[in-house]
Subunit: 365 residues, 2 copies
């Protein structure tokens, strides 16, 4: 299973946007996160299977984790489409329309697990329902009941498929329960009691305030930690999150932030002004006028090839000119920055004094 702590970049369609598998290896990435919903719609899990599975298809010989598709079905389906609401939830599963062509699809726990087995990731995630924020306690409870029944069905189907295949896959159950302490605790108890290989915490980043998210995680974590199983936090990964959740015992987090920020012209950077850095969440906007003739690398303390070879002025020029190279170079640097930081966290995480000192040098607390 994964080493504590691990940061997992997102490669939705089997590619961490703009970067090659060799880039990921050079950066020190061990695993990326792919989205079942997207790969099911294109190129289709059967195509990926025919091509030898997602590792071979994408040319990546590190590890891969796939999600269940649930999060995307619910987050892309929460708006009304031309044909009415885009999703319909029943006990059996979820009917939804493709965001690509409006075609109708039906996803069940068994279907999600089968797709994930076809994709062939090292780690799968059980099918769950993510409720929007805010949702009533009544609805959240109803959805949670379904998520728990779907967890059992996901696990059973996974075990059946795993038995018949040579390359064994591991499965994570998902704790849900919205922003209700009793439901989160109930969910943590229930999911912990099942025979999952790992435990994930879901539904904590769909537009809710950050303090809410942290609270929801804190309600579930103590129970999950007792199992000694790896714990994955879904869709979280700002710098303060990395320190706080890894410290709290979370094993891994996946997040689009490094590459998404890169594509929007932001770069990670640590100055000598901690207050400013915290305010900026350790990133800067490359389009700022002050970078126009700035010959410094993005981050003078960074050892990545982008910082070795290019100035802020050049990257600003490329980004402002919509040059493809800018998205690639900014994504590379940002991912390198986060993976390096998590490397430092990993080195100190078992020595509380050293960890506290590292954390305080970044966060001032």
């Amino acid at each position: 299973m994964l080493t504590h702590p691990t940061f997992i970049p997102v490669g939705t369609l089997g590619s961490v946007k703009s970067l090659t598998p060799q880039d990921l290896k050079n950066i020190g990435v061990e695993i990326f996160f792919s989205n079942t919903y997207h790969l099911y719609l294109q190129p289709g899990e059967k195509t990926v299977k025919k091509m030898g599975g997602l590792h071979k298809f994408s040319g990546w010989n590190g590890k891969i984790i796939t999600d269940s598709g649930g999060f995307q079905v619910f987050s892309l389906g929460k708006n009304k489409g031309k044909q009415g609401r885009l999703i319909k939830i029943t006990e059996e599963g979820v009917e939804f329309r493709s965001h690509l062509d409006g075609s109708l699809h039906f996803l069940t726990p068994e279907k999600s697990i089968s797709i994930q087995h076809d994709l062939g990731a090292n780690y799968l995630i059980a099918f769950d329902e993510c409720v929007p924020y805010p949702s009533s306690q009544r609805y959240t409870k109803e959805a949670l009941g379904r998520t728990h029944r779907w967890a059992k069905r996901s696990l059973a189907h996974h075990q059946k498929l795993n038995k018949n295949q040579k390359k064994k896959q591991a499965i994570y159950g998902v704790v849900q329960g919205g922003y209700y302490k009793n439901l989160r605790q109930l969910s943590a108890d229930f999911i912990s009691s099942l025979d999952f290989d790992g435990l994930a915490i879901g539904g904590v980043s769909v537009g809710e305030p950050k303090n809410k998210m942290r609270e929801a995680v804190s309600w579930a974590l103590p129970t999950l930690l007792k199992t000694k199983k790896p714990i994955h936090l879904l869709g979280v990964g700002e710098i303060d999150d990395l320190f706080d959740f890894f410290e709290a015992g979370v094993t891994s987090m996946d997040c689009t932030i490094p590459t998404r920020l890169g594509r929007s012209g932001h770069f990670f950077y640590r100055s000598k002004n901690q207050k400013e850095d915290l305010k900026n969440r350790f990133h800067q906007d490359i389009t700022k006028a002050r970078f126009q003739k700035d010959s410094q690398p993005l981050d003078p303390n960074c050892s990545c090839p982008v910082c070795k070879n290019h100035s802020r002025a050049y990257l600003r020029h490329l980004f402002k000119s919509h040059e493809l190279l800018s998205y690639r170079l900014l994504s590379y640097h940002n991912l390198h920055f986060i993976i390096s930081l998590v490397g430092e966290i990993r080195k100190t995480i078992d020595t509380p004094q050293k960890f506290k000192s590292l954390k305080s040098s970044w966060l001032g607390r």
Copy 2:
């Protein structure tokens, strides 16, 4: 000066689209072509100069050639804008509006050369007027007279600037004359008679039929060859062009084809079916359904890392999903394909029998 033969990819804004300087080096690129018009508008030649010149700014320690800006001024300005026609030509120079923000600019031979000196490329090109195709003989003759007077002004200004700088730059004169044999020959005579370091043939690729382009080159070439100076053919570089023009004595060509094709989902490929290859100009459309489950590399005979690590099926999936990585990988392969081919041509160009055999194996003639 440049080795015969040399293929020059285009890096309009100081970046060969989607590729890093290290990629170019790995591919075997020796020089890229940048556009004065674009760099003058953004980030501005003064910014580039402040940052140490285009080599340092872009992180490229190979060679660079810049054009005069003339071609872009005329090709981007041939349509009417909101404020009327986008360009106004006088003896002194050309008034034009920026394609970015509509702002008014005035480019003269002296200004173009000064900008190119600020950019600091190894090779500059004299400022010229490109007439659209078709143009009347009367107008083409008038424009050619201006181009010749501008050539002398460009050269004089370049010599003045070169005298005062440590790092000497070399300048190419440009033969124009549209599709009129007498004018092309007149221009070849005149440009050859001036003290340029190299001679370029211009205005042969602005939407004219291919046989016209070839004719126009053939009218100028004999005179240029007599000078023994390097000859550059502007904006040409399909595979048959590479064979025919390098054979005819052209030293170098620049062309956007490899990277532009890549960004539009086309990849260079040589099959065993020469007739098909010629019909397809040696490239294929990756979106074709037959590549959906094709586990072969783009070109099974190619040694580039894209072909080593990825299948057509994966590249098709990336391109169809609008993944940034597809533009990068297809551009890399295409440029590698062309640079490798020109490498083979270079090896045989001085041994006519070997060259003929190589050419015939590709073109069947």
